[in-house]
């Protein structure tokens, strides 16, 4: 159990005060260091499920344990603390446009109270890792979509998180940029033993048989073998 990062038991997620159920009685677990895909048709609840992993949506029934904490009962301060151990990647990047690329990348370190010098050193290392060293002092709106998503991944990796959650990370990107993003996430999983959960409408062919795969259908979450 110590190796389990996410554990859902009879998990039900709903909007409208429980009236509009999206996920019903789901049971699954994801272990440390696993790379997991969650797929399903549009509107099936993929993003809702991912949002529940970082506490944006609370379970209406059942339990959802992330990092050993029950997200159905978690306090705001504990949730804040939990989120500092996660890296989240969004389809629309969610970078802060008035901050430089370097500042965006070190946001998790800023939140953790790292010194300015440490943030600067880490920004250089992370940007080197995603091959964007020369973009450090530029602003996100000056970058292409693929470059912005690499900044998003660098930010997600900044604090060596236990869990990376990615919501359609290649949804807006061309094939070349998508491959770069998949490589970065795969490396994070293999080299840092970070658990990576990716929500996507289409799994890259190269990964299709390699990693665990859950599909959402008719409000249920099923593992594809």
């Amino acid at each position: 159990m110590a190796n389990v990062v996410i554990q859902a038991s009879d998990l039900t997620l709903a909007y409208n005060n429980g009236k509009n159920e999206i996920i019903k009685n789901a049971n699954f677990s994801i272990k440390k260091g696993e790379f997991v895909f969650i797929t399903g048709p549009s509107g099936s609840g993929k993003s809702t499920l991912l949002k529940s992993f970082y506490g944006h949506i609370k379970p209406t029934h059942g339990s959802l344990m992330v990092g050993g904490l029950d997200l159905a009962k978690i306090s705001n301060s504990k949730l804040q603390e939990l989120r500092t151990h996660m890296g989240i990647v969004f389809q629309d990047y969610k970078l802060v446009n008035e901050w430089t690329v370097a500042k965006n990348v070190v946001l998790p370190l800023m939140i953790a109270g790292y010194s300015i010098d440490m943030q600067h050193t880490q920004a250089q290392r992370l940007l080197r890792h995603v091959k964007l060293s020369e973009y450090a002092n530029m602003y996100p709106y000056e970058l292409s979509g693929g470059e912005q998503q690499r900044v998003g991944i660098a930010r997600a990796l900044a604090k060596n998180p236990m869990l990376i959650l990615a919501d359609e990370p290649t949804g807006n990107l061309d094939e070349y940029s998508s491959n770069v993003i998949w490589d970065l996430m795969e490396n994070a999983c293999q080299q840092l033993e970070t658990t990576v959960v990716v929500v996507t409408h289409r799994i890259p062919t190269v990964f299709s048989l390699q990693y665990r795969h859950f599909i959402i259908e008719n409000k249920g979450v099923y593992e594809v073998h």
Partner: protein, 271 residues
Amino acid sequence: MKFIKDHIMFILPLVAILLGIEFFLVFDRMTASYEQRLRDGYSMLVVSKEPMTLQELQSINSNIGKSTKIEKNEILKEVSLGQNPQDTQEILNALPNFYIIKLAKYLDTSALDNLEKDLMASKKIKRVETFGNSYSSNYKLFSFIKFILKVFIIFMSVVSLFLVIKQMEVWGYVHRERMQVMEIFGAPIMLRSGILFKVAIVDALISTSIIVLFFLYLKYQLAGISEVDALMNNSELLFQPSDAFILLACAIVIVIISVYIVVFSSREKEA
């Protein structure tokens, strides 16, 4: 340019609110001073059958502040010239006692009527002259000016408050994305809103300084050369050091409330 515009759009309504507060403080001091002058310049006459002490008069109505007995000899001095001393003594014995009454505080006309009724209800008192007509006209004019100014100040503050709220909405829009991203990554509220607090406190300091400098200029420069008696004679009431602290406290409270509204309205919501 955008930075300056954002600041000015918040500073201007804040200055207007602080101006309203400072006007209110100044007006409050002015009216207190004017009320005191009205009270000091006003007196009523009480005629009693028997001599009465101040305590006796105050036990009838506590609004009586001071009583001065008019000596009967003084009254008769002019009219008794050439009179037989015996006749004068008889007149003196027959004369009632006259008292000039000063008020303990400024009263409205109905309180003045009540005071008259209380005095007349005493068996010792024969007559009361309040000179109510002149008192009443002064009081009504004064009340009217007071009312108009308060309405103006309230109106100005309400309009300014709407402008502050409008600017807060702009802030909310500008900072929402950044604060939501920070929240998703686990930033505590003080870190998320730190920059807003800094900007808002700076705006509060700038706004307070503008008002303080304006009123200091009014007090030390403009009042002296204005040739307006009310300003020249009351320049010390125009600004007092304690006003700066009151204004700064008000400005900081307004900006902190504004920032909290922005912060809480930008929190991530369940879709």
